[in-house]
Amino acid sequence: MSKIFKNDTFWFLFLGFVITLVVYILNAEKGMIVAKTVYSTFFEVLDIIVAVSIFIGLFQVWVKPQTIVKLLGKGSGIKGFILVCTFPILMGGSLFTVFPLLKALKEKGARTGAIASFITAWGGKAPLLPLETQFLGWPFALLRLSLVVLFAFVMGILMDWVVEKPVEANVNKR
């Protein structure tokens, strides 16, 4: 039991339950609206969430972080840049899980722009496509997914220009 309470995510569940209960006590009708929304949305996403979690789990064991680092290399050159703007779209996880991977890329000598492009492209979130299409429709999801490549591309150029340049200028001065 104490182990459950140590889990952060459990507290979300607990807090959600308390909020619903308080609303119900204050106003039974509004409490029912909250409960019904939770119930119907939960069953709307359950199978999708399970499927998505399986996809991400399989991706994690079959495509190791080291493989990704190797594949993307320094993210330099046209080929590397295109890869860095597209491949991360396929990856799951949260920013907390991609940052350490990017640290490894950076240590391998990846440019600032490549790191920034990677993060942006990762925001495409193709593994969550089943969820996105369920709630926002295919036109929205596909348009967003294609624009994310452009987004990542511009991001990389801007970041190289703003963050990388001053450093190079300093090196040249010496």
């Binding site: 995510t9 619903t20 929304t37 939770v38 996403v45 789990g57 399989l58 640290k103 790191i115």
Partner: protein
């Protein structure tokens, strides 16, 4: 057949192929899957409670007036601000976005919200700062906000 059931079938199919190729890896994958479910389910349910609260207390008109088409570019900026501070796991972003859309938020606002909710996080700032430095962190987050705005505008133009 629901779309979700088809995804589930595909997922089980892939799982079977994976098991056939390498049992141990597939066990690891299953463990990872359970860990993901265990982490995101409670947070998702919490977000559903938030959606219920909005359903119960905030009228469609209010949402539409803040995030709707009529509020145009300003609505996108509001949505981006919400996305930047919202402590959402990516899987919760889409149900919440879809919910806002059903209640009068424009596609542009939703796009702005989705991008910033995934790419900008108050909680991840310290880690980003530590790993990539001040200059990188500030520049990336500002550029993300600005570029997401233009992409959201474009999406609104195309989809409305």
């Amino acid at each position: 057949m629901r779309a979700g059931q088809i995804y589930l079938l595909v997922a089980f199919g892939l799982m079977a192929i994976s098991y056939f190729k390498e049992k141990q890896r597939t066990r690891d994958a299953l463990k990872a899957t359970f860990k993901i479910l265990y982490t995101i389910m409670p947070v998702l349910i919490f977000v559903f409670v938030l959606m219920g609260l909005i359903q119960a207390y905030v009228s469609r008109e209010t949402i539409a007036s803040i995030l709707g088409q009529k509020n145009g570019a300003l609505g996108i900026i509001y949505a981006e601000l919400i996305g930047s501070i919202a402590l959402f796991l990516p899987p919760a972003v889409f149900p919440f976005g879809g919910y806002l859309h059903n209640n009068g938020a424009s596609y542009g606002s939703i796009a702005g919200f989705v991008f910033t909710a995934i790419l900008i996080g108050v909680t991840t700032l310290p880690l980003e700062f530590k790993l990539f430095g001040k200059r990188f962190t500030i520049a990336r987050n500002i550029f993300t906000f600005v570029l997401a705005f233009f992409i959201a505008l474009l999406m609104e133009e195309i989809l409305r």
